[in-house]
């Protein structure tokens, strides 16, 4: 790889030989961010339906979940869950007579970030669902649509319109907090930049490169969300343009 870059005169791209390491780190960061996004979206939709449910049995745990999770820093939760869960798991496997089972930082990162941001997405979706006029759902019921159809054809397209700005914001916060998972030892972009910086004695340079990669991802995400917003706003006067 490095020889190839050298031969075509693109030494700058190999980043003093640490290009591949940084690329791996970037890929790790993206994987972590996207998987936890998927998990948190799922939790968000479930949480929002639970919070809006007429059943108190569902509403109270969902409210506790969003209030407690959102009042504690994500870094504290990451450390708490990562270390505690490992200990509990050890106790459990020992009790069951199974072998030692270690959670790797990646799985822990996905689960923890997904769990934390699920709380933020819950609030996001709850607000969006409440913004859809009740008449829309009543009309859907009057037309005899099933529950699944009602969600898929009527509620979801309209709720996305209200949810998108918040979703975009939360996604960016989520992406930026993946940097914290390097603290529990994940070999992500930040870790790669730190390692490269330590071995070349040029920490600042590699940290700036890592920062630029994050900047690139956030800028592209912003573009994408602008596009999506335009798409979900089709047919709304004054907004679609």
């Amino acid at each position: 790889m490095n020889d190839f870059l050298h031969s075509v005169g693109l030494q700058a791209l190999s980043l003093q030989g640490f290009g591949p390491l940084l690329a791996q780190g970037t890929w790790m960061t993206l994987k972590l961010a996207l998987l936890s996004l998927g998990l948190s979206l799922l939790l968000g939709l479930l949480g929002a339906s639970a919070k809006l449910s007429p059943l108190r049995l569902l509403r109270i745990p969902a409210t506790l979940y969003t209030t407690l999770i959102r009042s504690v820093p994500d870094l504290v939760l990451i450390l708490l869950i990562f270390y505690t869960f490992q200990i509990w798991l050890n106790d459990f496997t020992e009790w069951m007579g199974w072998g030692y089972f270690e959670i790797d930082p990646f799985t822990a990162g996905v689960l923890t970030l997904g769990f934390i941001y699920g709380a933020y997405f819950t609030e996001n979706f709850r607000g969006a669902i409440l913004s859809v006029p009740a008449g829309q759902l009543e009309a859907a019921t009057a037309y005899g649509l099933s529950r699944a159809q009602r969600f898929h054809l009527v509620l979801f397209p309209q709720l996305m319109r209200f949810a998108l700005p918040g979703l975009g914001n939360n996604w960016l916060v989520l992406l930026k907090s993946t940097a914290l998972v390097s603290i529990i030892g994940l070999a992500d972009l930040v870790k790669a930049a730190q390692n490269a910086g330590k071995s070349t004695n040029n920490v600042l340079y590699f940290l700036i490169i890592a920062g630029l990669v994050y900047l690139l991802i956030t800028t592209l995400s912003n573009r994408l969300f602008k596009r999506l917003e335009r798409r979900f706003n089709t047919g709304i006067k004054g907004l679609a343009s």
């Binding site: 009042s71 916060v173 940290l207």
Partner: protein
């Protein structure tokens, strides 16, 4: 659990024997960051909406940079990155500033929160009804007087909900300080965990403390909103 509290209770709250720690340290970080960020962001917000390109563009670029990258990277750059430069080490004043972990941490936090706050305030200024500013102009207010007496107060009131959100995120972000060896709540929790192996309790106490701080902050902002945003509530009857 009881030994944990006996041994580390004071450290969690305000002192680990070597200096400020735990809750007091977190509060100190938070307050200094908040105050500096607030006063820095006021002129920058005005520059952000200025019609002059040379005023607006640099601020726009600054907020773009700091809002598009993780705070952790910014902290690492301030704490380990800049001190690696010879220019910084050779300059006497810079050397003294960057050798202190607390200074580096505060610098990163202030720059970060300021970028978000500038956007919040700038957005609020843009959303002030034209009539308010026209009325002020009709009364003969111009330039910095117009900004100081009408534009900023009107914008600050309206940005209270968004600003309170940002402050809570800022409070949570201060937990990153332990990576720069600052003895905040999380650092005490990690030390307690390493010494006693009561992992859940050690981090649980930290989580509880942050939770209390968050709730207190939310409560304070509710009061502030009730006082300063009353004019936006539709009057009944």
């Amino acid at each position: 659990m009881i030994e944990l509290i006996q041994e580390y209770g004071l450290a969690y709250l305000y002192s680990d024997g070597a200096g400020l720690s735990g809750l007091a340290m977190t509060l100190w970080l938070f307050i200094v960051t908040m105050v500096c960020g607030f006063f820095l962001s006021l002129p920058l917000a005005l520059a952000r909406i200025s019609r002059k390109l040379w005023l607006r563009w640099p601020v726009e670029f600054y907020t773009y940079l700091f809002r598009g990258t993780p705070l952790y990277i910014q902290l690492l750059i301030c704490y380990t990155g800049l001190y690696g430069l010879e220019v910084v080490r050779d300059h006497e004043m810079l050397d003294r500033f960057f050798r202190n972990a607390l200074n580096c941490t505060l610098l990163a936090f202030v720059l970060n929160t300021c970028a978000y706050t500038v956007e919040i305030f700038a957005g609020a200024i843009r959303n002030i009804p034209h009539g308010e500013i026209e009325a002020a102009q009709a009364y003969g207010l111009h330039g910095w007087k117009l900004n100081l007496f009408v534009v900023l107060p009107a914008a600050l009131r309206r940005s209270l909900p968004a600003y309170s959100n940002e402050l809570i995120l800022m409070l949570h972000a201060t937990s990153l300080a332990f990576t720069a060896t600052i003895a905040d709540i999380l650092k005490v929790a990690r030390d307690a965990n390493a010494a006693t192996f009561l992992t859940f309790q050690a981090f649980g106490i930290a989580a509880l403390l942050y939770m209390l701080l968050s709730f207190a902050l939310v409560g304070l902002f509710r009061l502030a909103e009730r006082r300063w945003m009353r004019f936006l509530v539709p009057s009944r009857g």
